[in-house]
Amino acid sequence: MKEIEKKHPLAIRWFHWINFPILLIMIWSGMLIYWANSVYKIQLGDWVLFKFFPPGFYKALKVPYRLAEGMATHFVFMWIFFLNGFLYVLYTLISGEWRYLIPNKHSFKEAWQVLLHDLYISKYHPPVKKYNGAQQIAYTAIIIMGFGSIITGIAIYKPVQAYWLTWLLGGYGFARFLHFILTIGYVLFFLVHIIQVIRAGWKNFQSMITGFEVKKTVETPKPEKEPTPVIEP
């Protein structure tokens, strides 16, 4: 016998693994759209540090001149992205899973400790549990970001019909910028997520597929031997 820990409910595993390729399609089609007016850059005075994105990057990914295709794909897959995210939130609320995910008053201190530990600055790691403070903050933030992508998306998709939303988000141009920044946020989240999953090891990764993680072997109590008869024949 082995002791196992039940980690991820089946529904959460489905939501997670559906979201991965759908988000990838949204980012890719978004890039086809962004290319047509790729104006964002990191600039200090006149010195352009980084342009989103360099021509070579676009060329390598075959991005140029695919605006129509990008828009069509974006406006089809947005439904799956939205529905999957909506059902995930609904599920966590109904199942009570949200209790593990929402940060509490200890989360921020704990997240800081995790950060110092993972950057090899401190040896101390807070007690291991389902989601540590850093995870709680990250996994909650990503849901808020998803919500942000939806509302900034609507604000630039229908800026006249949803004029109040566009206004609330700082106008058409700023809403477009926020929509872009959120996407960069997903990419950064993805990179850190991958690094952490690798660091956590195969058993942890496997639990996102199987739902459980094997913890330790439990000694099975051996059945008592029958006493040998003492009676002499």
Binding site: I4, A36, K158, R176
Partner: protein, 256 residues
């Protein structure tokens, strides 16, 4: 929070692990082939597959539920308008034009002879101005200042666009440049929107050639692609008129 632990036999662990991974693999392969199937769907003559168009039509029907003539594009003070509005798109306006000889042809939906309008027939209607944020489908936007007349005033004044003997509008309006190289289709609700104008001035000056002299459409509830320059012909229909960028795979509706 307490951990949910259980004690499982090795056999159970092996079985559960096997089925989970098998399911994961199947779902991944299924997902991959679904994407291959979707991206391999044959395009129609408007460059997008039927299925994609169906979803875009669905999006449009949702938009119809929210669309209202009370939803107005935000307007700005004159000082905010660009001195030199950006030029983009020269299809259908490359040839020289004699604005004196220009006429707007309105085709009769019932096969009667076309009606021809001069600029002065249009300028006879109450003048309207709009300073709004023009939005290009490429993603840029710019505050511009145009003047003209309400499209709805034009249709009402000259009794155009309604089915003969009824009070019912045709569902669509088609516009084309005089050389018919650029053309757009517009739903009637957007055409009747109070901010939809037939314009003959930009920044209070007569339209220059490349801004669409002598008469152009300004329709703030749509992307720039629908704001046809140098209108030559107008017609009405219950089916969507041909649309230049729609044929290149863009959404037909593009309502903002």
């Amino acid at each position: 929070m307490e951990k949910k632990t259980e004690q499982w036999s090795d056999k159970k662990i092996q079985r559960r692990t096997f089925f989970s991974f098998a399911g994961f693999l199947l779902a991944s392969v299924g997902g991959w082939f679904s994407w291959k199937w979707f991206s391999g769907l044959p395009p129609t003559n408007n460059r997008l597959p039927e299925l994609t168009r169906d979803v875009l039509s669905f999006n449009e029907r949702i938009k119809d539920k929210f669309f209202s003539h009370k939803h107005l594009a935000k307007t700005y003070p004159k000082a905010r308008a660009a001195r030199k509005p950006r030029l983009n798109g020269f299809i259908g306006i490359k040839d020289d034009i004699d604005t004196e000889k220009w006429r707007l042809e309105v085709v009769s939906p019932t096969g009667k002879p076309s009606i021809y309008f001069q600029l002065k027939d249009i300028q006879a209607l109450p003048k309207e101005e709009i300073i709004f944020d023009f939005k290009c489908i490429e993603g840029w936007d710019q505050i511009v200042h145009y003047s003209g007349i309400k499209f709805s005033d034009f249709l009402n004044k000259y009794k155009l666009g309604k089915k003969e003997g009824t009070n019912e509008w045709y569902k669509y309006v088609g516009l084309e440049t005089p050389d018919a190289k650029y053309y757009v289709g517009l739903d009637i609700e957007s055409v009747l929107h109070p901010q939809t104008l037939l314009c003959f001035e930009v920044n209070n000056q007569p339209l220059p050639k490349l801004h669409g002299a002598p008469l152009r459409l300004i329709i703030p509830v749509k992307y720039g692609v629908k704001n046809l320059k140098r209108i030559g012909k107008m017609y009405f229909s219950d089916t969507p008129p041909r649309d230049y960028w729609h044929e290149y795979g863009y959404d037909y509706d593009v309502t903002l």
